[in-house]
Amino acid sequence: MLSSKGWDPCLETSFLHCRHQEYIGKVTHAVFQTASGKKRVIVATEKSVVASLNLRSGEIFWRQVLEESEPIDGLQVALGKYAVSLSRGGSLRSFHLPDGSLIWETSLYTSPSPAQLFLLPSDDLLVLKQGIVYVVSSADGRLLWTSDLLDESRLAQTSLSFEGKNIYVAGFSGSSLALFRIDASTGAFTTLKTTEPLNPSSFVLSSGVFAALDTQGNIVTGLMEAEVVELQKTSLATLLDSPVSSAQLLPDKIPGGCVLSTDGGSIFVLGLDKKGVEVLQQIQGPPVVSNSIVLDGTFAQSFLQHINSKEIRVRVLSGKEWIETAEETVEVDPNKGGVQKVFMNAYIKTDRSRGFRVLIVGQDHSLALLQQGKVVWSREEALASVVDTLTAELPLEKAGVSVAEVEHDLYEWLKGHVLRLKSTLMLATAEEQTALQALRLNNADKTKMTRDHNGFRKLIVVLTSSGKLFALHTGNGGIVWSRFIPELSTKGSLKLYPWRIPHKHVDENAVALVLGSSHDGTGFAAWVDMLTGSVQETLALPYSVKVALALPVVDSSERRLHLLIDDQNKAHLYPTSDESLSLFEKYMQNVYFYIADKEAGQIEGYNIKSQVDAGEEGGLVFQSQKIWSVLFPKDSETIAAITTRRADEMVHTQAKVLGNRDVWYKYLNKNMVFVATVTPQDSRVGAANPEETWLVAYLIDSVTGQILHRVSHAHAQGPVHVVFSENWVVYCYFNVRNHRHEMSVLEVYDKSADGKDVLQLMLGRYNASVPFSSFSPRNLEVKGQSYFFPSTVRTMSVTFTARGITGKQILVGTIGNQVIALDKRFLDPRRSADPTPMEREEGVIPLSEGLPLFPQSYLTHAARVEELRGIISVPARLESTCLVFAYGIDLFFTRTAPSRTYDSLTEDFSYALLLITIVVLVVAIAVSMVLSQRKELREKWK
């Protein structure tokens, strides 16, 4: 559960090519801690992270990752030394401020319902959960008292305020408002009655006064000190001096007042006291309201407004009268979208005047600190929620580099090598060692914006759930560009597609297609330049995209044809040019797609029938027709996973040569789909009977709907993780009977080409490389085996190399947030207890029931990629090497060589040492030659 900042292996010299970046996610709560010691801000995020950030730089002091399934509902700093977080599941945890260690933990309740956390004036903690109040001692987490205000029934939209020794709580019970007064020390409560029943549309509590808006356009206020609350009604129209058609009380808390927003876009700060209600301030345009802070006995609050996309205005109102005490205009990055949350803090400037700083959370999840009219630091927290990635090649190196640059490079190169040589010969001083370390880490060569010979330098374009795109450089993990597309932030499912990957026109930039679609039946497409991040074109789609097919056809400008399938299974072709239409018409009869429906328990296959009229929207629209369907028995099987091969996977050969020189032909059907179904889970706890749970694995041809293979595993349970590569599938599930995780492998071979004569092959009379069609049936042989896996799997992936010659590694993301590289040879169905010498020679490992986990196979070393969600592997140009990018809350990048780096020297290879050795050898040869000649001459004279 917990992790804090520790040793980072990526700073060690031996792991030069790995990069680990820590993030926290979108901030939901923040508490400043500036009174003493280090200035810091404690934050809680959507990703269930509690972190302490350095207020001066934004760096993470410490970070604790809590259960992702339980969002954090509240965060407070108690006693000036504990950060207390309230999780949705009712866990109250207290962390020590300086180092983030867990001090105490209390579980108040177990139902996952939203609650609020307050800090009482006595420095104790109060949790208000739907009408139940818990008060917990902040010193040790002991429950002081609890009271159930409504006896089991629920209180919705609760609001709470303190005044003296009393706690006031208000909330909806049904449609009417219920008011309570609680004694803060004992928990005894009284239900307050009102002079007339209240059915307000919105209400707010503030310092023992409540204000509510009723349906007749009146604002109703009342003091909560008395047993029977007397209500005062004021018409909004007379209060605001203008007719108001609709208004709303904002839940933002203002001590002694409340905030009213009207449909005119204006905001009114209202003062509430015994006399009634009065307008204190009016602000034009909707602002974002910060928390209130105590300042010289009264309160201060800041209001943020966007002037335009580049500037925001920060206004601070304070004092009893809510007078504007400070106003600043801050220039911000327009690439961050609107401000969503503000947290304010006051400080004393060097000239003893008061200053304010605000922490703002942007629409793009970014976090920034504004102080004295400028942005002090900002964090790109969108990177904690990566949803899809693509890689782009960097541009080719331009010829004609200036002489000065070369000289500089040469000097740097020489310096580096001299240092390296010294280090090798153990002559380097500590200073030189650190210089060398710095040189290695910030090698200018690594971060160049051009393509390198080995293909290690690339851009990883990541799409985040906030709708912001980033390009990360593989050399140092730095952000090359970022682009916020506001339209995408409201879409549910986001995907990236390679629209244009130039091969012929290498000097042109690659373009990615970003697709977002939401359940309300609309979609959004954007075309983004992958090298510069500029948005080339955007398109609002009047349909939601179910499937997007990147067809294996490109037009003359190397744009890939994409087919977007909408809800009605109509296919929309992009790009919408005549050329793409004519290309598509030629290819149309070979295009198929399938839609697997988890709810209905079926997979349906379609093909493209004919072009139809696009209607008013225009574009190229095609009708599809259903050609097959596979139905799974609903009561015994639900679809758990469905996977195909990666479209751009390179396979070197279709032949697998065995130790006895037999040849097996791999069945490399790209349209083969792996489907795993599991027995539906009974919702009752402990209902899973190990005898009755099954996992059924299918191999289905997605063109014809033919089931190529079916295998069932008894006592198996999901979740199922699958990796599909070449002609094999590896899937992982839980064995209920053995209480262990299992990994199974299926390898598919085409046996119809067997028995070919050598002579025929010699003469070239084989047709194994003719185009493959799913409609010509093959004689298949499927080999499978299962092994125990000693860890729990979060996600699985596999390595891809440039030509597919190098062996494969399965990349397993474990529950411990680490990435393990498991050699595919351990998952060979041909492993047997006693392999023949031939098989041994081939490299078949003797059978063992479990898969081994070696300490060396941890790609992440000691680093942990918190909440690991996905692992992406990208081939480098060097055949032996594969780039691995893992993402969760953190980002991690490294390289792996499944069969060792057989085609390159290490980066650290000391060329200087080699050169010196050669020179020394040549000199030694020359000297000894002269010496021997002399000696010979002397001999002859004797």
Binding site: F593, A596, A655, R661, D662, V663, K670, N671, K756, V758
Partner: protein
């Protein structure tokens, strides 16, 4: 050199005749008379002996590879059937020796080639023997798996087939 001069002190050369000249010839003995008479018959004899010796030698040379065969077989057996430096070296020398011997067959039998000696049969035997050795080498090469006699040797880099159809899809939940 010094050693050489020392050795010379003790060396007596009987062949130079210098010492025998100091003693007079026996009476009636004339140096040179007997040699003239015997010369002709001796020469004929010598020629005959030489011819049979040449024939014998030619046969011997023709059979020489036979002894080598056992040696080679033993070495091959020792080398084993796994491909490594030693076995490769042995195999290639086993292949190279017969080939080079066959190439230089003219030179081998040249000293024995004249009108009297028949070198054809020894030559044929020599060729046969070397072919046997070559065969053994090839057999070894095959048992090492270095001869393309299996289907796998011809299709091992067969590229994957092109797909006619294209299909894609999704799991919607």
């Amino acid at each position: 050199m010094e050693r050489g001069s020392k050795a010379r002190k003790w060396a007596i050369d009987f062949g130079d005749g210098a010492s025998s000249r100091e003693v007079a010839d026996p009476p009636g003995y004339s140096r040179g008379a007997s040699s003239e008479i015997e010369d002709a018959s001796a020469a004929r004899q010598k020629e005959k002996v030489e011819a049979s010796w040449k024939q014998q030698k030619a046969w011997e040379i023709a059979q020489a590879p036979f002894r080598n065969l056992f040696m080679m077989g033993f070495m091959m057996w020792m080398a084993g059937n796994t491909v490594h430096l030693f076995s490769i070296g042995i195999t290639f020398s086993a292949l190279w020796q017969p080939i080079s011997a066959l190439q230089g067959i003219g030179k081998v039998f040249e000293p024995y080639k004249d009108a009297r000696t028949d070198v054809l049969m020894p030559k044929l035997l020599f060729i046969a023997m070397n072919l046997v050795a070559l065969g053994m080498g090839l057999w070894k090469l095959n048992s090492l798996g270095l001869l393309p006699t299996h289907a796998s040797d011809w299709v091992s880099s067969l590229p994957p087939p092109q797909m006619v159809e294209f299909s894609g899809g999704v799991l919607s939940s």
